[in-house]
Amino acid sequence: MTAISARDVIVDFPIYGLRSRSLKNMVIRAATGGMLARDASERVVVRALDGVSFEFREGDRVGIVGHNGSGKTTLLRVIAGAYEPVSGAIETEGRIAAMLSITLGMDPEATGYENIFLRAAIMGLKPREVATMVSEIREFSELGDYIDMPVRMYSSGMSMRLAFAISTCIAADIILMDEWLSVGDPAFREKAQLRLRRLVDQARILVLASNDERLIRDNCNRIMRLSHGKMIALENI
């Protein structure tokens, strides 16, 4: 059963100024105390998520809205498992496709073909699984013989097409998206939308962060409002 549950998730980003991060100050603090100590131990934290709790179940299409810095991306990364909450707990069940940075792991010096395996490895796919999808990815991204050329030679549109094709090549139970993905020229974009739509429809849970209310209304059945790291509303639409 696919599900995401969070209980009182708190995420603090420590801001290590030039002061507290250096060992020198720790040593000085230990040795001197007093006036310097106040300076050195001053640790500023930014509370990115503040006591967020929710339950997402199968069929949920959740849109996360909030102003810049409200914690949308952080929440996605917490669900993806990259950040562990400082306190509280998060639990996910099901295969997650985190489409937060679709080019992560790609190397411009490697060929398109090599990059398929590189990117897929970061996505948690095994070479055996990837091998069956190479021709499909190549066809979809319309790269043709460019697939054997270093990605460095690609136009930015071409490398995005490749990244998109790889990142969307496998079905997942949970899809996390930071803004709706959209790549390529108009013709490709249409094709890409169909593919993404199909992937999203197959997924059991979608979590989409965006500031585009219309996009959220079109694609989601629940909406979560974040403000300054706090969840101020979670409603059905």
């Binding site: 290590y16 990259a82 940075s101 992560l104 490895a121």
Partner: protein
């Protein structure tokens, strides 16, 4: 429905286990790093072999003369020592950046953190494998006495590999938090290069040979070097290395289980 979360210790062990098991990730990433360095060069990673070989070919006769050593045995000694040192020092230096370097991965994916450590360990082993060609060449040329002791070489190399794991996690974690540590470590490694018997042998110290024994890195060199030189294995060296390996893992686990979840915030 949230069940009781597994203990931090269990999570740390799981990270290690899953990381080691991700054999479709870390060897690829490690090899990629070497390929990146030599992209578009004709000889590619064999430049590693060539530059090490060049160094040894020049330094061998020079230092041999300086120390008044017989050429063949000194050359053999230096070649092996130098290649092993590149492995050991490379592992220590790269340990510091294991997590820092993987920042973009760590912040966006859920791969076990051990993967990034294994990637740097693997990279250093690939460099070692390239340099091994020099050792083989020198062995074939000088033909020292070789016997069953040679079987200890793979075991010793594997031991160093395993040590790379704990040092990578431990130093990687500390260096991610305290950015002053990497330069400290690299200058210590630089000093260790001269302090460790690589160019010189402990016997040159005369009655002060014990000084070499105090250096833990000396023992790491010895477990690989002795069997290749046709010498009997040193129980002391193996003892020291194994003791460091176990205590290193214990220390690493103590810190890793405590701070594993913080690394994403530090890098």
């Amino acid at each position: 429905m949230l069940s009781a979360p597994p203990s931090r210790f269990r999570l740390a062990l799981r990270d290690l286990k899953d990381g080691i098991r991700s054999i479709h990730v870390w060897p690829t990433l490690g090899w990629l790093e070497i390929k990146q360095r030599y992209r578009r060069s004709m000889l590619g990673p064999f430049w590693l072999t060539i530059s090490t070989g060049f160094m040894i070919a020049i330094m061998g006769p020079l230092y041999g003369k300086m120390f008044g050593q017989p050429v063949s045995s000194y050359f053999l000694y230096l070649a092996i020592s130098f290649v092993v040192w590149i492995l050991v020092s490379g592992l220590i230096n790269d340990s510091c950046t294991a997590f820092i370097q993987a920042e973009s991965y760590i912040k966006q994916t859920k791969l076990p953190l051990t993967v990034y450590v294994l990637r740097t360990v693997w990279k250093n082993f690939l460099i070692f494998a390239h340099n091994l060609a020099i050792v083989v060449l020198v062995l074939v040329y000088f033909q020292p006495r070789m016997d069953w002791h040679l079987a200890l070489v793979p075991l010793a190399v594997l031991t160093i590999f395993v040590n790379g794991i704990w040092s990578g996690i431990l130093l990687g974690l500390i260096c991610a938090r305290f950015r002053d540590i990497p330069p400290v470590v690299s200058s210590l490694v630089q000093v260790a290069f001269f302090l460790t018997p690589i160019f010189w042998t402990p016997s040159m110290l005369g009655r002060h040979q014990w000084a070499a024994d105090l250096n833990p890195l000396f023992h790491y060199m010895e477990i690989v070097r002795r069997p290749l030189m046709g010498q009997d294995p040193s129980l002391l060296s193996w003892g020291v290395v194994l003791a460091i390996t176990f205590s290193g893992f214990a220390l690493m686990l103590a810190l890793f289980q405590r701070f594993r979840g913080r690394i994403a915030y530090w890098v």
